[in-house]
């Protein structure tokens, strides 16, 4: 109860401060609003977290009208406290869960209290729980999943009872929740998976169970931990797609078929000429998922990148520069009467509508994919050269087939070099506005990257017909949205001048994140862990390894240990091992990631690390009688615990302004409230 009380009070204190948009609230708050407005958007994370934020906002009377344009915008009189409060409440559960988990694992109240204290008084955990972010929701599900897994492990001698099933199913539900918020949830799934495999392995070795029993155990777990989360996860997406049925800023990332579902999109119940004709104005979309529209603009390729001609790229958003006009080889003037249809094998010239340059390719190497040729915009007002000619082919078509809008997959073969128009999917550097590279590939294999479809089609001389385009089924949408998300995720590369945080910075609390405010006059919040807590965690990681090494060598050499000692080493190896595994799984994978990383990615791992600290320190204190004799060892234990508690509390008192806001001069100036607390040069408060 004490833990719960403290936890809620630290998280909910000064919740509505500062009354402006902080850091990533600008994204997640906005996405919450999109749910309320039912507008389709694109994000690299799965939808559950944002749906819950949206729901919390809706319940607390927020009407979804606040634009969340940039950090620092004042909320005025919008009801933003509901969304923040929701996140804070979920965040407040973390210390409680940590308490329960450590209690289950170690059977020691002291260990549990240490773990909970570390989390309650960690400024980082407080800060990250207080704003409209996905992390508190994610961590809630992660911890809940671990807790129910641990509880489930305790039920091992009561197989198939109601409580057994309850905890098993609860684990599954929480796994779905964790994955539904962020893909980081995968790590806790791996943790639970490994634990389950270990559990099954134990059952398999239990000769009192028949193979049928084992199969039952296996099936029960497969159902609750694989099938159930999967169903829930898919359901979340189903809700996502049903709720968001209006066209919005995310359309261009998806295929033409996908867009036709969205109310307000120009493809929704679209009507346009059915067959492509000469003289039509069109947009051409690459068939690769998240492939983008064929695009050009006034900017030239920079010096040293092929010929210095106009850039041609693929662009994900809808834009006037995506419009191209289909011309015959020679004539430019529009004919009277019905225009001729473009057929399979026809030679066309594609003119960019805005700049009147022709789509052009030549034997220079492409900017990024060096094996391919460069594609440029060349010529003006229709005059160009022989390198502007492309042969249009319908995939699987024969000579004379017309080109159907939206439905035909077409390829553009360059006449002079024989290469095929191709979108490599690589992002161009700054000079190309981070749009996607378009090349001409000499390898003629039919891949989605070299196939295109005609999406918009404008030709006033042709009759419009209504196109009831093949509506995609749910599985197709699901798959497509996932591929788009993964692309988006790996596309988040650090930009040139941007601060990139390295994974090794995190456990040593090297550098925090500015949530709000830079200058002395502003209200500043800085996400930084309580250094005392974090350094204790770091030290206990080392301590844990030493203790486990000593304990296991002693066992392996067959030294005779007391009953109590054996229990301790079991707790260390089993319980500690589980937490250690959790920490590793939530931390180590970041070293291999190429995407941009932030400090807050460490917080799930930090939860595991804190729990491990509780367990390790408790056993360390209890093992004091190895060195000291009974009365002294007891005193040592008490003093150690009190000292620990006191140092955590005092450091929290020192550093609490980090979470609850600081004003006045920056810390390196003498007049600041935080003067003298800038223990590391890299902290920026």
């Amino acid at each position: 109860m004490l833990v719960a009380g403290l936890s809620f009070s630290t998280r909910l204190y000064k919740l509505t401060e500062p009354p402006h948009v902080c850091w990533d609230e600008t994204h997640f708050g906005k996405m919450g609003s999109y749910y309320i407005n039912r507008t389709f958007f694109f994000d690299v994370h799965p939808p559950l977290g944002k749906m819950l934020i949206g729901l919390a906002g809706y319940m607390s009377g927020y009407n979804g009208t606040f634009p969340f344009i940039k950090p620092g915008d004042k909320y005025e009189n919008q009801n933003y406290w509901g969304m923040r409060g929701f996140c804070a409440v979920l965040g407040s559960f973390l210390p409680i869960f940590a308490y329960l988990i450590v209690l289950e694992l170690s059977n020691s109240c002291t260990a549990a209290i240490i773990a909970a204290t570390l989390l309650i008084f960690d400024t980082g955990c407080i800060t990250i729980s207080q704003y409209i972010l996905l992390d508190p929701i994610l961590m809630f599900f992660i911890m809940a999943a671990v807790l129910s897994m641990v509880k489930f492990n305790q039920q091992r001698y009561r197989s198939f009872t109601a409580s057994w099933w309850f905890w098993l199913v609860l684990t599954g539900i929480n796994l779905a929740g964790a994955l539904g918020v962020k893909f980081v949830g995968l790590f806790v799934i791996v943790l639970v998976g490994l634990n389950t495999i270990g559990d099954l392995w134990r059952l398999l070795g239990d000769m009192s169970l028949s193979l049928v029993d084992i199969a039952k155990h296996f099936l029960a777990r497969a159902f609750a931990l694989i099938l159930l989360p999967l169903i829930l996860y898919v359901t979340i997406f189903a809700v996502h797609f049903v709720v968001l049925n209006k066209s919005g800023p995310g359309d261009g990332f998806f295929s033409s078929a996908f867009q036709s579902r969205l109310i307000g999109n120009n493809l929704h119940n679209a009507s346009m000429p059915e067959y492509l004709a000469f003289g039509s104005t069109v947009t051409i979309k690459n068939l690769r998922i998240a492939g983008g529209y064929l695009h050009s603009h006034w900017h030239l390729y920079p010096e040293g990148v092929g010929a210095r001609q106009q850039q041609v790229t693929a662009y994900l958003h809808k834009d006037y520069n995506n419009l191209w006009v289909v011309h015959r080889q020679q004539d430019n003037n529009s004919q009277s009467g019905n225009p001729d249809l473009v057929r399979h094998g026809d030679i066309v010239r594609l003119e960019h509508k805005e700049t009147t340059r022709n789509l052009h390719s030549h034997l220079h190497e492409a900017p990024l994919t060096k094996k391919h040729f460069q594609v440029t915009g060349y010529g003006i007002n229709g005059t160009g050269d022989a390198n502007d000619l492309w042969q249009m082919e319908v995939c699987g078509g024969r000579k004379g087939d017309p080109v159907k809008v939206l439905r035909s997959k077409v390829r553009f073969l360059h006449r002079a070099t024989g290469c095929v128009l191709y979108s490599s999917g690589k992002t161009l550097p700054k000079w190309g506005w981070e749009q996607i590279e378009v090349t001409c590939s000499p390898y003629l294999k039919e891949t989605p990257s070299s196939q295109w479809n005609i999406e918009d089609h404008i030709n006033p001389k042709l009759p419009n017909i209504s196109l009831s385009v093949l509506k995609p089924n749910f599985l197709e949408i699901l798959l497509e949205s996932h591929i788009v998300m993964f692309r988006g995720n790996s596309g988040l590369k650090p930009k040139d001048n941007e601060m990139n945080s390295k994974p090794w910075h995190w456990p040593i609390n090297y550098q925090g994140l500015r949530f709000s405010g830079v200058n002395a006059t502003e209200y500043r919040v800085y996400l930084l862990g309580n250094p005392v807590v974090w350094w204790i965690n770091l030290a206990s990681l080392g301590l844990y390894f030493t203790m486990v090494a000593v304990a296991s060598i002693a066992t392996q050499r067959g030294f005779s240990l007391g009953q109590q000692r054996i229990e301790h080493s079991l707790v260390l190896v089993r319980g500690g091992g589980l937490l250690m595994l959790g920490w590793l799984l939530h931390y180590a994978p970041f070293f291999t990631m190429g995407r941009i990383l932030y400090f807050h990615h460490y917080f799930p791992a930090m939860l595991f690390s804190s729990m491990l600290t509780g367990l390790t320190l408790d056993i360390l204190f209890r093992s004091a009688d190895l060195l000291l004799h009974p009365p002294y060892s007891y005193w040592f234990q008490r003093t150690g615990q009190l000292l620990l508690l006191f140092s955590i509390l005092y450091s929290f008192y020192l550093f609490h302004p980090l979470s609850y806001g600081m004003t006045g001069p920056l810390a390196h100036e003498p007049g600041s409230a935080m003067a003298g607390l800038k223990w590391m040069d890299s902290w920026e408060f």
Partner: protein, 719 residues
Amino acid sequence: QLGGLPLVVTAQVDLLLVLVSLLAFWTRLSHLSYPNAVVFDEVYYGQFVSLYMKRVFFIDDSGPPLGHMILAFGAYLGGFDGNFVWNRIGAEYPTTVNVWSLRLLPALCGALCVPLVYLLTLELKFSHLSALGAAVLLLLENSLIVQSRFMLLESVLIFFVLLAFFSYLRFHNAPSSLSGGTPRYIWLILSGVSCGAVVGVKYMGLFSYLLLLVVASLHTWKLIGDKTISHRNVCVQCVHRVLCLVVVPVLLYVFWFYVHLSFLNRSGPHDQLMSSAFQASLQGGLSRITRGQPLEVAYGSQVTLRSSVSQPIPCWLHSHKVNYPIRYDNGRGSSHQQQVTCYPFKDVNNWWIIKDPGRQQLVVDTPPRPVRHGDVIQLVHGMTSRFLNSHDVAAPMSPHTQEVSGYIDFNVSMPAQNLWRVDISNREAESEVWKTILSEVRLVHVNTSAVLKLSGVPLPDWGFRQLEVVADKLFKAHSSSLEWTVEEHRYGTSQEQKEREAELHSPTHIDVDRKISFWAKFVELQWKMLTVKQEESEHKYSSSPLEWITMETNIAYWLHSSTNAQIHLIGNPVSWGVGNLSLLAYQLLAVVYLLRRRRGLKDVPDGVWDQFVCLGCVCVGGWLVNFVPFLLMDKTLFLYHYLPALCYLYLLSPALLEHAHTHLLRYRALCVGALAVLLSIFLTYRTFCPLTYGSPELSAHQLQGLKWRDTWDILYRRR
């Protein structure tokens, strides 16, 4: 066990071993100097060999120096003088270059791999027949032959990996009697030495080394659990293993660098990447200029300031008689004061004079008053006499930072803010006094506490495309773009501007000698090797790791300048398939065994099970550690990166077959099948020989016939 027979058995073994070794030498070494032209990556390694011959310093981020040194040693034996321009694949070697000796050492290593695999299989406790099988698989692998026959490093790497495992297992299997311990420990030391070599040849070798450590620690763990041995004995044995398998390789690794650095003592093309102190230790280059400079920077010193970062290029703080444009292209205004930039070439405009703000004079006192950490100074530009200045005006390219200028008083109420505090960031390692070359200095602007920083953005035409210098408010520790070192230095003697200009144009003098320690050089070089990123470039023959398993890709190594004769890196498809099959089979078998053992059903006796597990640890583990890391790598990768992993599969296949034959399927058909497979391996080897050895020349039609996969890229010359 049969009393009289051991002698005969030994003779048989030797014969087989000798036979495969001879064959290996024949396949790897015959016609080694054909083609007499630069083949594929020889063009890359060759330049380093040349630099070794000329003892010119270089950095290669692709791997530690041992591999290059081995290649250079081969060249040295052949009397290569380093005078060959390695500029394109296919260039003919002149007659003065002894091609045979250049390629000899890799080829020898490649050939020795075959008998090593034979011995290794024996150490894994499988029969001579399996050993022969493994050796034959390796012997007839076209890709390994190609890779061994040229001046490339993979065969050297594979050789050392196999040697390390072989000698470790030899050590482990030797009877641990208390008396005959010495020869046993020779094997352990040999293993440690090979591990050092493995890591010294390529960084990829690190993973194989780690695998060996894991295997060794598992064995040690068992040893610790063995209660029949005394505590003392256990400690001694553990210490021995740690010494041989951890300490020796680490020392050797450092030793390679020691040799590397003591060999390469002349300045060369990569100097600029290194710090000034490092450069000064090389002959020629910077040390020629800086020899005899005064060590301590004093008030009145004339200095050039080099930025500590070398991205995008090394450069020196510079100013010239041109002002910032009043308005930039985007409409923002500037101070219109004199430009301060960073300039990548030596120039008389790079000279600055350190001035005491409290005094007027620009000459050095006798005795000189050195500048210390925390002192406030002014910097005067030597040629224009402008003061280095910064103020609250946005910098031209990085508007979030402050502009740095040479101060001109336009009388527009923009006072001079030209005081800078000297902050020596490595004062703990060096000294409180600002030293030439050694001290890394941050210049902190006194008025705004911003730090002088190279932003690295090139200025537009008005700034002559030189690099932008700014003062940045953010105080981020450990950012080397904030740090500057004094490179050229002399004590100023002329108070008059005209004389000073003449002085700046003249070369420096006075004599002091200085050195940096080997450790400092080692740490710096290692750090640079790991952090210098070469331009990401896609190569025509680069491939992704998943394509390697099925050999979807090949690499054209060489094409004759006029005919169709060509050399490709193409593996033997049949053995490739056999390897993959055995990998799958092992994993399946292991899963089945494990599950059944857990249920108490022991299919094989414990001894055989241990042997089976050991096989898996070494072979499947070896394959994994040599393959999986590539999946996570963001580099340009080639098929030849897969060759070490492939060797483990060849080690696995015959052993697994033997295991299956003795314990599971005692059919004669199995033997016949194995023979048939061996025969087809031999036939495919023969078929691909023309592409492996580059002769005889094939017709276009024949080449077409060799294109077994559509994705292979075989070249035809149009006639």
